[in-house]
Chain length 452, copies 2
């Protein structure tokens, strides 16, 4: 079993730098901000997610004795430094956008303020956790917009990148508006509604489809969804039509059929007709198979008679954008704004806040990024979540995060609701932040003239 | 912390099907095969990986009392079935290609033969584990071919999809020929060599780049790699050139500089010249930043003076192919071959073996997929790994897997070594397998005529 809480889920250079800081007794207060440099081409907004797991990580992060022993044996670090690591804990502050918040490029989503030896060490895992769930929640929100009220279920565990990816994809897609997941452990861990039917192997293990359907219905009478495409979809639907009255006599209702292959538009229409002709208008049609927001949109726009969808691989891997250009950058050290100026990677210095402006109808009109503490109209998006390593408030229930996400989705301007939108959302840099950038650059130049 | 060994890392339908099997006392011996339907467009071969984690999973899989209790409370299953699950263990057989083996579409990579209630339940997690590492190992092998002997290090943890993805990406890339990883926990868990330098924040936390370089070198004298692009790459190289003689007086050697931004071709040439002019020919140049096999190939072909590369996001997410079309399909039940005939998803029935033919120079010439037990020339690729739930041999050392992978890479025909290859590798279906498919189809038709 993987120790997903290990402090050694970090890049080696964090530890080499820490030893550098330690030997110089350099441990001033540093602020790092997590943000996304540029949105993927196929995203026009993102949904913040993963904060809860990030906080859990920070609260429990420490070096175990086995880890310290291994670090000692690897021969890269001095014994004094290893001993020092034994007392390492995260005792800093975190400000963040609450999960479910819509955000955009260059907006700080989370800020850590702590002694630099604490704030630096947690970089890899914080990015790892926030990137994953934000990426999935953002993809899921697009599916939710495209599906226009149809039921959506996460089917992606098998091709998610490992166990944690699968579990957190269930969580992220649910908070972004999905109705549930097929992943049982996500149901147990996060109380997400779980959905499930049958696989082709169940049909194949029986002598006939009819026998498989009937035994399944009798074994799971409260949840009868029958997979009808193992051999021939329309023939499968006819078997269901034939079987339904007999099952009804035993008090068993077939809830839905599932189609997992072929042209879903054509098959769903054929199947709907077969079921309707048999007077089975209440049996729903559930579809799956290589779905994403584009396929959902097309099926919904073409009025496919489909009541719900299972979305798998393309959701759980965020297939068209399997990572975000997200970073965690030093923005202030010892009270002084800092910025990196590497080519193509320059960042805004200093601690920041994002304010959101709304129109009279409640729609989002634009955001302003400004220096922390500067006056600005609008709704401030970052709030205090950790102070001196302790939570400012208790864990948010997933249902509350899901409501926030739905509310933000409702407030999206019309152009951001379109899958292939090219209109950028207005993000303004406030004069206060521009002034700070000028100061930081002048300070870098001064230090260089003086010291080099 | 995530329980990555949980048996509930499965789709709900596995459990609903299991209850169906249970209530019918249907539990014949089933064989399922894991294979990839089609290679991604940008892959012309794959590298098998993940078997070790799959076996660990099967060996320890069971329902904990907390899991059984939760399943009972969720109201979907009968108490008798829950009680039955308490005794669930995997006691079946597994045959598989050893890790590091090159393989192609439709070739079984792993086969489970067990009572159907065992073989079915493990589907989701087996696919999840094999998909992840096979995908990363295959991407990594392409990087290794492109880098033509340069040092390659996995830098991808931060944007890998969660902790397990990051750790297993380190393992998969190492077994496919990478030299190491930056992920410390992967070093501890898998004894993979770890690599690391410094981040921009280290430089920024100091008053000058020079001061940062010098303090770092004195703190980590055995491993001095200096990041020179925080402000201006060439200026950073000049600071290194100036500092090197002074550090040498203290017995400290600068091993390399790292460049993480800008045009790596231009900067590496400029930096090489600056270092060479200062007589520092021994200081290597290490580069990172949005690299993948295509960028590596271009830099190597253009003779960039770069000694090693860190490959991150695009490796750990397998960015151009973030999933494989891999499936785990019932191929035999109660001694009879089975196949699914869903549109576009038809499979070859029966238990199979893959034989590889080699040319006189030792190059791979083609594979033949045939029925298990049929006579065929060539090297058989699947071997026994589990019998009645127990390992046939002990865990393979990663070094041995890495050697096998290197050996297979050497035997790749020239056209498969090209990144944009369009020539398909010859895969033949043996007559014995075609006969089996005919039998299976006839059996399906017979059953349908008889029963429906």
């Amino acid at each position: 079993m993987m120790n997903t809480g290990s402090i050694l889920l970090t890049d080696l250079y964090m530890l080499t730098m820490l030893e550098g800081f330690y030997k110089q007794s350099l441990n001033g207060i540093a602020s790092y901000e997590f943000f996304v440099r540029r949105l993927p081409e196929s995203r026009s907004f993102l949904v913040a997610a993963g904060l809860e797991q990030a906080l859990e990580y920070l609260e429990q992060a420490h070096f175990t004795s086995a880890e310290l022993e291994w670090l000692g044996q690897c021969g890269r670090f001095s014994p004094a430094f290893i001993e020092h690591l034994a007392g390492w804990r995260f005792t800093g502050d975190v400000d963040a956008m609450p999960e479910g918040t819509v955000f955009f490029a260059n907006e700080p989503v989370l800020r850590v303020t702590a002694p630099i030896s604490q704030a630096q060490l947690v970089e890899s895992r914080l990015i790892n956790l926030l990137n994953l769930q934000t990426m999935i929640a953002s993809k899921a929100a697009r599916c939710v917009l495209a599906a226009n009220q149809r039921t959506l279920v996460d089917f992606g565990l098998r091709r998610a990148h490992g166990a944690e990816a699968g579990l957190l994809a269930s969580r992220a897609s649910y908070l972004a508006g999905f109705d549930g997941t097929a992943t049982v452990l996500a149901g147990m861990m996060f109380a997400i509604p779980i959905y499930g039917t049958m696989a082709h192997a169940y049909i194949q293990a029986h002598d006939s489809e009819r026998e498989a359907f009937e035994t399944f219905a009798r074994a799971q009478p409260g949840n009868v969804v029958l997979l009808i495409d193992t051999y021939d979809t329309e023939q499968g639907a006819r078997v269901v039509a034939d079987l339904a009255p007999r099952l009804r006599e035993s008090g068993i209702t077939i809830k839905a059929v599932r189609i997992d292959s072929g042209d879903l538009m054509i098959h769903s229409r054929n199947v709907r007709r077969i079921l309707d002709d048999a007077g089975l208008k209440d049996i729903g049609i559930f579809c799956s198979g290589n779905l994403d927001e584009y396929r959902l949109r097309d099926l919904v726009q073409d009025r496919a008679p489909i009541n719900g969808y299972g979305v798998g691989t393309r959701l759980d891997t965020s297939e068209d954008a399997p990572s975000l250009e997200c970073v965690y950058k030093l923005v202030e050290y010892n009270g002084e704004p800092r910025r990196k100026r590497s080519e193509g990677k320059a960042t805004w210095p200093g601690r920041k806040q994002v304010f959101r402006q709304y129109g009279t109808s409640g729609q989002m009109e634009g955001d302003t990024i400004t220096a922390w503490g500067a006056d600005q109209a609008g709704q401030p998006l970052l709030e205090a979540v950790l102070r001196q390593g302790k939570r400012v408030r208790s864990t948010e229930p997933l249902s509350k995060i899901r409501e926030r996400s739905a509310h933000d989705r409702e407030r999206l301007p019309e152009y951001l609701r379109v899958l292939e939108n090219k209109t950028p959302y207005p993000i303004r840099i406030a004069p206060a932040l521009e002034d700070l950038a000028k100061q930081a650059d002048e300070a870098i130049s001064r230090r260089r003239e003086f010291l080099e």
